[in-house]
């Protein structure tokens, strides 16, 4: 008999405990910092591809969509790739019979995973970038030379 009542009150207790968050409209918010990829899709006229169809393909299976979604009104789309899958991630954006596939390489380096931007992945440095790189190398070497050529302190 004692065990019978214990079972009843025990059960009510469990129900009560489970119900508390519902009555109180409890909310649990956590946060996690992740590396995401931002896509900006525009027509060549500069007009954003608003609400365009987006399909993401992971390197492990380039034929099956890993994620499908749409762009924002500004033609933007943000996703977090599975960094456990290094390789070339491909993002297809389509609208009104026109579209393009963007390849985004994620490579493993000594410093960890590195995401290469689409622009850099698809083109060589422009003349300005190349000039900056050459200038940096030259300035670094000149600075080294000046360091070694300085007069010793008395």
């Amino acid at each position: 008999m004692r065990s019978y009542w214990s079972a009843i009150f025990g059960g009510l207790g469990i129900i009560g405990l489970q119900s508390v968050p519902v009555w109180g409209h409890g909310v649990v918010i956590t946060h996690e910092v992740q590396r995401a990829i931002a896509i900006q899709a525009r027509y060549d006229t500069g007009e954003p591809m608003a609400a365009a169809q987006v399909t993401v393909y992971a390197p492990d299976d380039p034929t099956t969509p890993w994620l499908t979604d749409t762009t924002t009104a500004d033609g933007e789309f943000l996703f977090t790739p599975d960094l456990g899958q290094p390789g070339t991630w491909e993002v297809q954006v389509r609208q009104a019979g026109h579209g393009q596939i963007l390849a985004i390489p994620i490579t493993e380096t000594a410093a960890g995973l590195e995401i290469t931007s689409g622009e850099a992945a698809q083109g060589a440095p422009n003349p300005l970038q190349r000039g900056l790189m050459i200038g940096s190398v030259v300035w670094g070497c000149v600075g080294t030379a000046l360091f070694f050529s300085r007069k010793p302190k008395a």
């Binding site: 297809q92 009104a96 026109h98 579209g99 393009q100 596939i101 698809q122 070694f148």
Partner: protein, 283 residues
Amino acid sequence: MTKRLLFLILIPVLAAFGQGCDTAPEAEAPVTPPEVTEQTTTEATGTLQIRANGEERARDGFTSKDGWELSFDHIYVNLAQVTAYQTDPPFNPERDDPLQAEVEVTLPVTTTVDIAETDPEYETVLVGEITAPAGQYNALSWVMQPATTGPAEGYALVLLGTATQNRESIDFALQIEETLAYQCGDFVGDERKGILVAGETADLEATFHLDHLFGDSRSAPDDSLNQGALGFEPLAALAENGRVEASMADLQTQLSGDDYDILRGILAELGHAGEGHCRVTDA
């Protein structure tokens, strides 16, 4: 000692600077001929099909931006040097970067296909197929050039059909003798194409967008596609006794200068890979 050290350090600096000031830097050098992977019996290969597609507009007809109902009896396209590529980095036809192929395979024949032909299974027309190394073929090129034989003899593109508006009906035969070489990137569409697994069959598609030429009444009049399209009205104005038959040479003299320029520009935009754009290069 200090001078010697300075000299030693400056030598590589000047050498690096000299390379940087080269008027023809390596990154901007002309395209090196892509390496063709020779197929051997030990290589993992599959069958790569190249198909042509005029979409439902070619098969079922459509209404032009200026209200002409178009139906096509035949749309002949003569395709040569059809080549599929595995490129790295992926080829983007909307940039100036060259197509850098790691593997390429070319159909050995020139073929005329009818993209108005309805294939109930594929809705596309087989141009040809070839045994190819497995991998991801993410670029396609072809040359649309005048046929030397067959129904399109003398022309690269022939559109035969009927245009109807209100009670007026015009039979048309547009015969394009221009040679155009298209280079396209990855296929863009409902499904991925060109991913060839050893022992299996994959396909790539040369797609022709007729709405670029005639516009489409289903799009808004101010849609950029309709704004750039020729429409059918300029061609209807050339009809005699309910028929217009014209080559590019004829159209150059019969169309207005602006309309002829629009037509030439559109021909360069006709070729796609699914919904993906192409660029036209020297044939």
